[in-house]
């Protein structure tokens, strides 16, 4: 057998010789040793963005027309009962839609 024939024979023989190793509970045994859950990766918060948000929020809060907002709230609370029921119905519908969207997203992420 020359070098080339030997090279070919060796490659074939080694591959044929290595049968698929059946799992036979290997993965289950390993999974039982893993910590209960992995903490999902947290996005690092950029300090600059955080401070910019705080400062701009403070400026917006100072510039808010507090009196007119209070006046609007008073107007809302003086609505008759029928209007309150409409607002409540709208809120419940929006809540249900949000839950459905979130549930669908969760099923997609954990789909197996």
């Amino acid at each position: 057998m020359n070098d080339q024939e030997f090279e070919l024979w060796l490659g074939q023989e080694l591959k044929a010789n290595t049968a698929y190793v059946e799992d036979n509970g290997f993965t289950d045994q390993l999974m039982a040793q893993l910590p209960a859950s992995v903490e999902p990766q947290r996005q690092p918060i950029n300090k600059l963005v955080l401070w910019a948000t705080i400062i701009s929020s403070a400026i917006v809060a100072l510039l808010l027309p507090v009196q007119s907002i209070l006046h609007s709230f008073t107007a809302v609370f003086s609505q008759p009962l029928e209007n309150w029921l409409t607002i409540l119905g709208f809120g419940v519908s929006m809540g249900m839609v949000s839950i459905l969207v979130l549930w669908n997203d969760r099923s997609r992420i954990f789909e197996v």
Partner: protein, 186 residues
């Protein structure tokens, strides 16, 4: 989920804490890794323990996996280091028995020739120095390139090539001696 790539499964483990995705990764890579460790250790039970340790380390370090790398190369590097660590602790020679393949009676008559060839090659492989055996296993059995094997073994590519060259010479000589001895015995 089964059709997702390794990288997509890793993302699911890291971003959603999905352990089933990790189980799929283990299932996908366990056969090759265990077969290699069995070849390196020459002891199936020990190899499986080291494979378990390898995957546990991989799970803990998964965040450090670079997405531009190949997962199998990364896993084999962890396995190789785990094997070296164990060796340092135990200082074993790892030359075990060939009990697993000595049951000649179970082989069918038509498969006998193939069986003898495999057994002879296994014995010849066991006689190789460790680095030569690992280089042959990574490049010939697992199909890694020379540079990937060098990455796993953390040595220059030239060393891998030289290990392979020497291993082939030794295998050829051992196998031809075995054949001569068998012919003389008949």
């Amino acid at each position: 989920m089964i059709e997702l790539s390794d990288q997509q499964l890793i993302d699911l483990v890291l971003k959603a804490g999905n352990q089933r995705a990790f189980a799929l990764l283990v299932n996908r890579h366990q056969s090759g890794l265990r077969a290699s460790l069995r070849q390196w250790c020459q002891n199936d039970a020990l190899a499986d323990d080291l494979a378990q340790e390898t995957f546990l380390k991989a799970f803990r370090k998964l965040e450090s996996f670079q997405s531009n790398a190949k997962l199998s190369t990364w896993l084999y590097r962890i396995a190789y280091n785990t094997f070296l660590d164990y060796k340092k602790i135990k200082k074993n020679t790892f030359h075990d028995t060939f009990g697993d393949i000595d049951d000649v009676q179970t082989a069918h008559a038509g498969e006998m020739e193939q069986y003898h060839q495999s057994r002879d090659l296994n014995k010849a492989m066991a006689e190789l120095p460790e680095a030569q055996r690992q280089s042959i296993d990574l490049c010939y059995t697992q199909g890694f390139s020379h540079s990937e094997a060098a990455d796993v073994m953390q040595c220059p590519v030239g060393s891998v090539k030289s290990h392979i060259q020497r291993a082939k010479q030794k295998l050829k000589s051992v196998l031809s001696m075995t054949t001569t001895a068998q012919a003389a015995g008949e």
